[in-house]
Amino acid sequence: MTSVLTAPAVEPPAASPRGRRRARRSPRSAPRSTLTRGSALGLGIAMVWFSLLVLIPLTAVVATAGEGGWDRYLSVLRNDQTWAAVTLTVGQALLVTALNVVVGTVIAWVLVRDRFWGKAALDVVIDVPFALPTIVAGLVLLSLYGPNSPLGVHWAFTEHAVTLALAFVTLPFVVRTVQPVLEELEVDVEEAAASLGARRGTILRRILLPSLAPAIAAGAALSFARAISEYGSLVLLSGNRPYETEVVSVRVLTFIENGNTASAAALASVMLAIALVVIVALDLVQRRVARRG
């Protein structure tokens, strides 16, 4: 996830008095503190809680993982079963992300530009994966794709089950990042392009997609991060078969349950690193967009 505050556009004071911004508010670039006694106390308490809850525990994961040095990392990752889980998770996450990029963008398009009966319902249903407990999500999918499937498919405990579960929980990300951008997009630009003789395909390729690309990228990054870290929806659905349907989260959990916290921490820190990379990438994308806008 990107930083909650998008980078403020700091306006440097122009040289000429004419071009100067009215100096009303202190520019955000000023690093000095404007905390009062009360707000400093509030910040202090909030930071203690945030440290106890998030920072110190995550540091503990990294520290525990680091105790064994590189050898531990390598030995954990070299383990065949772990490596199989890693490749499965990354492969499925990439697959689902690609799926979301296409289908998510289409759904966003349909929600914004199309009109039909029941569109409002579709709009609400998109959010169901956000609101549904993950374990229930697994159970829900099992009812259609499991042993008693009315469709006659039996995907439970297969790789398809992993794809299904990940697709379910990550569906809203691309839709919900692309949708507002598409809504804000000015139709004039498309009309201007059309009046200049551009054909539909050209408008799509040269006007629409470039404007949507940052939002699609952001949504893709979010769904990739979520897919990599998914656990709850897979528990009932994938059967957690080693080498076949076991994902990284399950592997970490197995380590924990076996009391092997060192290996759990090593693998968990790899997942943390991926999450961090995604956050940084997202922040960069968003900042580039902010600068352009």
């Binding site: 909650v4 690093p31 707000s39 199309d114 169901v128 009309e191 990599i228 528990v235 970490v252």
Partner: protein
């Protein structure tokens, strides 16, 4: 606006509806149907089952605490991030979002490493002081707080930025102190965003599974929440109870969605 030809438009529409139908709507509908195949009796039996009722009570308790804590923390941090300058602000605002990208299993592990009573960094000290965190409710509340942490902040921050600080300054110039300004001016302006954030946090908190599973120890009747119960019942071949409990959870999360859908236009105004 690019007008698509009719077949293409229909194609896209069908793809969107079909995908959502097969992935979400139909499966959810089936669970609802399963719940009622045995009539309302199953649902009633489930609710009177002591293990289910206990799990639901525990879930409600943990979620309530987590939402309350995140509400206070979230509003405080939002105001600090938007209205004040301090060193490290950018880093903090980036870190706040971290919990959304961390796997629930990693969250559980992280809390376990620090707070477990035998080898944790702080665990033995805490237990010495009479506070058991892991395998007890404090740990479950913490795990739930962790995963839902940014939700209130993400709703409140944009609204605070949007309304600006003019009204607050006017209140100051009229003699209101910091607390009065917050209570009488800031809070009424961000009210809907706060409610929205609370509803989202509630949905997330009720549904947390992985992190809670690790820190709770999943002790039936003591630290088993509703989501943990669904797993246990399903795997013990008490599928009816699993479906019925899931139905209740679906009901609550859909209620949350409806509340949010209802609030959204208000907040946008």
């Amino acid at each position: 606006m690019v007008e698509l030809s009719t077949p293409v438009r229909w194609g896209l529409r069908l793809l969107a509806i079909g995908y959502v139908f097969f992935l979400i709507a139909w499966p959810v509908g089936l669970v609802v149907k399963h719940t009622f195949t045995g009539g309302l009796g199953v649902l009633a039996d489930t609710l009177t089952d002591e293990s289910v009722a206990g799990a639901l009570r525990l879930t409600a308790m943990v979620a309530t605490w987590a939402v309350l804590i995140n509400l206070v923390f979230g509003v405080t941090i939002s105001v600090l991030l938007v209205r004040y300058e301090f060193p490290g602000k950018r880093v903090l605002s980036a870190l706040i979002d971290l919990p959304l990208s961390v796997s629930p299993v990693v969250v559980g592990l992280a809390l376990l490493l620090v707070y477990n009573g035998r080898t944790g960094w702080f665990g033995p000290t805490a237990e010495g002081a009479g506070l058991t965190v892991i395998f007890d409710s404090p740990g479950m509340v913490m795990a739930t707080c962790f995963v839902a942490l940014p939700l209130v902040i993400r709703e409140v921050v944009p609204v605070l930025v949007e309304i600006g600080d003019d009204q607050e300054q006017a209140a100051r110039s009229l003699g209101a102190g910091a607390v009065q300004t917050f209570r009488r001016i800031t809070l009424p302006s961000i009210k809907w965003a706060v409610v929205y954030g609370v509803v989202l946090s509630l949905a997330r908190s009720l549904g947390e599974f992985g992190a809670v599973k690790i820190v709770s120890g999943n002790i039936t009747g003591r630290t088993q929440t509703a989501t943990l119960l669904v797993e246990a019942k399903y795997q013990n071949f008490q599928q009816e109870t699993a479906y019925a409990t899931s139905f209740l959870l679906i009901l609550v999360s859909i209620a949350c969605l409806v509340v949010v859908a209802f609030l959204r236009p208000r907040a946008a105004r």
